[in-house]
């Protein structure tokens, strides 16, 4: 078991002929992911170097490959809304958006559509999803790194930061702690898949024994996760690392690394997140290296 993706994942890559899209597809295939088809409008009929057929539309791809159950979106920001709507209207149950800097008004529309149609939307600005030795979707663990830094095991990792998914997984792997699934949810103001969504999925996943979250100043997704813990909806042990405490010394409204990092109404600060998570029973790490030490007792 794992969450979101596993060996039964059959992927479509929207934007497969672009620079980032073709690299993501190539590396997914190298990791063993079943990439059935790609879509680039106007390039239908072509085949990628790896032999993946390219279609003009999602519908055409699905007509030939009805088993597709996951779509990765790697198209320029202004085309993401159209691409995501295309795969969601075609009822592909999991849509993962890698593209960064998608207009927030577009993200709000995609989230609304995904919710009413029961589609799992991960991203935008997601680095991807990886279930070690089973499947990976997106840019997570490229250039052969995936085999070195990720290892199968019992810790679910969920992170706003793409870079930290790799750093944390490497540290866990080096400490002998494997991962069930590693999810990059993106750090935008609005995201399709939240810490809470991931937490609830890991809660149901028999393979996952503990959860690691990497959060950042801004938004209230960490606070919502803490609330779910407090209400007993997430009961597995949680270790959290929250970045951005330094920003408490900056003027309010300062936007940091990710678009979502705006502090509002007292909530959203790193201190507020740490406080809420600690009160809900999560263990708080100060550095990535503390995470395996805090996790060990739960994995015996």
């Amino acid at each position: 078991m794992a969450i979101l993706i596993d060996s039964s994942t059959k992927a479509l890559v929207q934007g497969i002929t672009g620079k980032e899209g073709s690299r993501a597809a190539r590396e997914m295939i190298a990791y063993g992911t079943n990439v059935l088809a790609g879509v680039t409008p106007g390039k239908g009929g072509q085949t990628t170097e790896e032999g993946v057929p390219v279609f003009n539309t999602v519908k055409e791809a699905l007509a030939q490959f009805p088993d597709i159950n996951t779509s990765l979106i790697v198209v320029p920001a202004q085309f993401v809304l159209g691409a995501a709507m295309e795969s969601m209207e075609a009822k592909i149950p999991l849509v993962n958006i890698i593209t960064e800097k998608v207009p927030i008004s577009h993200v709000a529309k995609m989230i609304a559509f995904a919710r009413t149609n029961n589609i799992t939307l991960v991203g935008p600005s997601s680095i991807g999803i990886l279930s070690p030795k089973k499947s990976k979707v997106g840019s997570i663990g490229s250039a052969g790194l995936a085999d070195i830094i990720f290892s199968p095991g019992h810790v679910g990792v969920v992170s706003k930061s793409g870079g930290m998914t790799a750093e944390l997984s490497r540290i866990l792997t080096e400490a002998g702690i494997g991962q069930s699934t590693v999810v990059g949810i993106g750090g935008d103001l609005l995201i399709g898949y939240t810490f809470e969504d991931a937490g609830l999925a890991f809660e149901q996943d028999p393979e996952t024994k503990a959860i690691v979250i990497f959060g950042e100043v801004g938004g209230t997704y960490e606070e919502c996760f803490a609330k779910a813990m407090g209400e007993g909806r997430i009961r597995k042990p949680v270790v959290a690392l929250i970045a951005g405490q330094f920003s408490e010394q900056l003027p309010q409204d300062t936007v940091l690394g990710h678009a979502g990092a705006i502090v509002t109404k007292g909530r959203g600060s790193a201190a507020s997140k740490i406080d809420a998570l600690r009160k809900a029973g999560a263990l708080i790490a100060n550095t990535p290296e503390e995470i395996p030490i805090l996790l060990k007792p739960f994995l015996l």
Partner: protein, 356 residues
């Protein structure tokens, strides 16, 4: 991108939201033709202009010039006004608070309403908006009733116009605080706070914040860069700046950032920091760093600690070693065997010396 009040009000007008009669004055000698009393409003981005002496009410003509001159010289949060907005003072019956923004609990746009103007979103009633339905008249009326605000045609229309602007301009925030209700039942926007989506207006923007310290930082990854600033400050380091590059930028982008970050005087060290990258080409970004170093007016003599991992690290580090030999840079190179936190300790020790 935050807009100045007069820019926000120009947008209000475009979408049919009434604003006070006003004129924009570009300098202290400018003339204006409004009737007194008037309100002089400093055009700065700070949110607390009243408290910071950025707003002056002028009752009569004799006091106008002197107050205008004063306001042009009044610094607010370190910046002088771009211009002064002069407006006729409004005789109002009531002040309301109205805003539209995105809420991360609902993950939807929210309409915030309050009968108490002049305060903020705290205490306002939040009404989530279904983006598929928008904010038609019946929803606007219903929202007002939820906030216990007597609903009128004019108020509902103002709110609907604000929604149209929020959507069409792809704003992150549109706030009218206060929204004046006049005796005749019309509504006039007393102030305008508008934030547009950088993803739309300036997708190339990279956040850069001057933090005033003496260790220059070039960090990669939004999350890792924030975490590393936390760690550096905990170790006693004084960061000079916050900046980060994400994704897989070409060398030219890193070169430009390097020049920007290292051009400030009195630096004691430089910390190039990142975790294990997923897909950033480490050789490419480190090449950009060295290109930036080579273009600096004076060659840095201070220690430079580089901690990085990811695709093409080996090639990148070989290139760095070569540049170190050729140029004599004081590079200290670390891969994943040295933690980010450990490298923070190293740069602090090298930059400030051992406190023995």
């Amino acid at each position: 991108m935050k807009l100045l009040e007069h820019q926000g009000k120009a947008l209000f007008q475009k979408y049919g939201i009434k604003i006070p009669n006003g004129e924009l004055l570009k300098n202290a000698q400018a003339e204006m033709s409004l009737d007194f009393p008037v309100v002089l409003k400093s055009q700065v981005l700070s949110g607390e202009r009243k408290k910071k002496k950025g707003i002056i009410i002028v009752e009569k003509h004799e006091d106008f010039r002197q107050n205008l001159e004063k306001l042009f010289l009044q610094e607010i949060d370190g910046s002088l006004p771009e211009s002064i907005l002069v407006e006729e003072r409004i005789d109002f019956e009531k002040e309301l608070y109205v805003s539209l923004s995105y809420d991360t609990d609902y993950r939807k746009p929210v309409l915030a309403l309050s009968l108490v103007g002049g305060t903020g979103i705290e205490g306002a009633t939040l009404v989530p908006i279904d983006v598929m339905k928008g904010l038609p008249d019946d929803m606007a009326q219903e929202s007002l009733s939820k906030a216990h605000i007597p609903s009128t045609f004019q108020l509902s229309e103002t709110i609907q116009n604000l929604w149209k602007m929020f959507q069409a301009e792809q704003a992150l925030l549109v706030e009218i605080n206060p929204l004046f209700e006049l005796k005749d039942g019309t509504f006039v926007a007393g102030d305008a706070k508008v934030v547009l989506d950088d993803n739309v207006v300036d997708p190339q923007l990279r956040p850069f914040i001057d933090l005033g310290g003496d260790i220059a930082i070039l960090a990669s990854g939004g999350g890792a860069s924030m975490l590393n600033l936390d760690i550096l400050m905990r170790e006693g380091g004084r960061p000079a700046n916050y900046v980060e590059y994400s994704g897989n930028p070409p060398a030219s982008v890193v070169e430009e950032l390097t020049l920007k970050v290292l051009s400030r005087p009195n630096l004691k060290g430089c910390w190039v920091i990142g975790g294990t990258a997923n897909f950033t080409d480490v050789a490419e970004t480190m090449l950009g760093f060295v290109q930036g170093l080579r273009k600096l007016q004076s060659k840095p003599a201070y220690p430079i600690v580089i901690r990085r991992d990811g695709p093409k690290r080996k090639e990148g580090f070989e290139m760095l070693e070569k540049a170190k030999q050729e140029e004599g840079y004081d590079f200290h190179l670390y891969g994943p065997e040295t933690s980010m936190a450990e490298s923070a300790k190293i740069i602090v020790r090298l930059a400030y010396g051992n406190p023995h």
